[in-house]
Amino acid sequence: MIRLPPQKIGTHDFTAEGTAMIEAEKLTKYYGTHPALVDVDFQIEKGEIVGFLGPNGAGKSTTLRLLTGYFPPSRGTVRLAGFDIRTHPLEVRKRIGYLPENVPLYKEMTVRSFLFFMAALRGLNGKRKAARVEEVLKDFMLHHQAETLIHKLSKGYRQLTGMAQAFVHEPEVLILDEPTLSIDPRQVVRVRERIKAYGRSHTVVLSSHILPEVALICDRILVMDQGRIVAADRPERLAAALGGPSVYEMEVTGEEEAVRAAIEKVPEVLKIRCTGEGTERRFVVEGRPGKDLREALSSAVTAAGFTLLGLTAKEMSLEDIFLRLTRHKEDKS
């Protein structure tokens, strides 16, 4: 397993109590005897958008539920804005907006009456309540659906309704479990923008198993697997730290076998593949991670008398990192 040191990024404002917005220490949750979460530590600062990324059953939803106080940890503590979730649950709940997994909604209500109800539950009233409901209806493209009964809405609109209720009271901390699931692609862009804009002045914690999603939205990614955080960093640094440029694509003139022989002279080269025919032919070279081999590769082919037409280093995609981080079980076997 590859383990990165926990990293704090940038300078952020701290809350009055001199602590981060969310602090989790040694969080552990057992369902019966099954450990869903084991000794998880993390800190999330104000104005940060943090994404929990992991396969199903990694403990993402459990972590988010612990943050909301829906159920208590078996061990460990969570503090939100300085308030311990165990001793001051109401203070914590006053500060959060939460979209649970599977988007539970009152199906017999209309979108607008549901949002009014949720706004009232979160303590809004009078003109402000009405104004905020209209705002989120517009923000989440629900104004044409406002009088529709929720059970008649499509999945995507239900998701948007769920998002709207999390935003309606402008909470200090937004907790979103799979926020863009089943929203149609045109609307996803809008929703991402909403989250990003909100995250500039507030704290957003979200979970997803869709990699590009978290990479696009989040300042920081916490990769989870089997109830643990296996990596935590900015999306781009996660890629750099784990992979480095280890795959190269080369376009070289000349006989295939001869070119292969030339490339093989570079000691860090692990594997060479040849793809395509004629002008489409490319050599895909895998090298040891952690070192840039471009210089060595280009001089090797030119020294052998070939012409190098192209050479690009391919960074490990987030998908690759993700698979690498979470596939340790198969690696062992």
Binding site: R65, P72, R93, Y106, E108, L121
Partner: protein, 236 residues
């Protein structure tokens, strides 16, 4: 208070928006009308005894039907997660729902006011037993609704909750009979914890203190248990 009101109003609107409420009201009035029409007491004494004894027994089935949805469905649909992660206190959730159920039941009682109006129109009824009878029916309803809500808090399956509530209600109704074959002492104890033991007095115009105390405390006990069941998910 704002949050509590929001919960209460939402629950009330859900009741009034669902066809099942009107169906149950119709059944309630039908059963009440049957008891009213067939009881000799209606004609001989201008009393509501027939109506009260039939609706009182029907309440044992109606009460659970009105309440089992309240928490079980929230659990099933996952909306309980929305409620419990909002800054509402657990008692606000429980009482908001309970009061809505009680209000709806009160509406059903109001709907049945044409029975006493018929008595007034065609006879010379005694106002006392009618008022005390309705009080008894309302208090019995309060108990049964609390038992239903409690059952609803235990499971995510409304049907299971209904069976459980029915069993509890019938247990408290018939427990007095269980003592009839045993000794005097046992019988007295079992009767005093029986719902049915206190009910007939109300329709005769008697408001007994121990009846009031028993109905109200049984209601309180089940509401308290409901509250604990809801709270328990915070430490489970």
């Amino acid at each position: 208070m704002n949050r509590f009101a929001a919960l209460f109003v939402k629950e009330l609107r859900t009741y009034l928006g669902a066809p099942s409420f009107y169906l149950m009201t119709a059944l309630f009035l039908l059963v009440g009308g049957y008891g009213f029409g067939w009881s000799p007491a209606t004609y001989l004494e201008s009393s509501l005894e027939g109506f009260l004894s039939w609706t009182g027994f029907f309440l044992l089935f109606l009460g659970p039907a009105l309440t089992v949805r309240l928490l079980a469905e929230e659990e099933k649909m996952g909306t309980l997660e929305l409620l419990l992660t909002s800054p509402v206190k657990d008692w606000e959730v429980v009482f908001g729902k309970y009061l809505a159920a009680l209000a709806v039941f009160f509406l059903m009682l109001v709907g049945s006011f044409y029975f006493p109006l018929l008595l007034i129109g065609f006879g010379h009824p005694d106002a006392g037993p009618i008022l005390s009878g309705y009080l008894g029916l309302f208090l019995l309803g309060a108990v049964v609704l609390a038992i239903g809500l409690f059952s609803s808090s235990l499971t995510a399956n409304p049907i299971l909750a209904y069976v459980l509530a029915g069993a509890l209600v019938l247990f408290f109704w018939f427990i007095g009979l269980a003592g009839s074959s045993s000794g005097q002492g046992t019988q007295m104890v079992l009767q005093t914890v029986s719902l049915s033991y206190y009910f007939p007095a109300f329709s005769r115009g008697l408001i007994e203190t121990n009846a009031l105390i028993y109905y109200l405390s049984l209601t309180a006990v089940f509401l308290f248990l409901t509250l604990r069941a809801v709270e328990s998910r915070r430490w489970r």
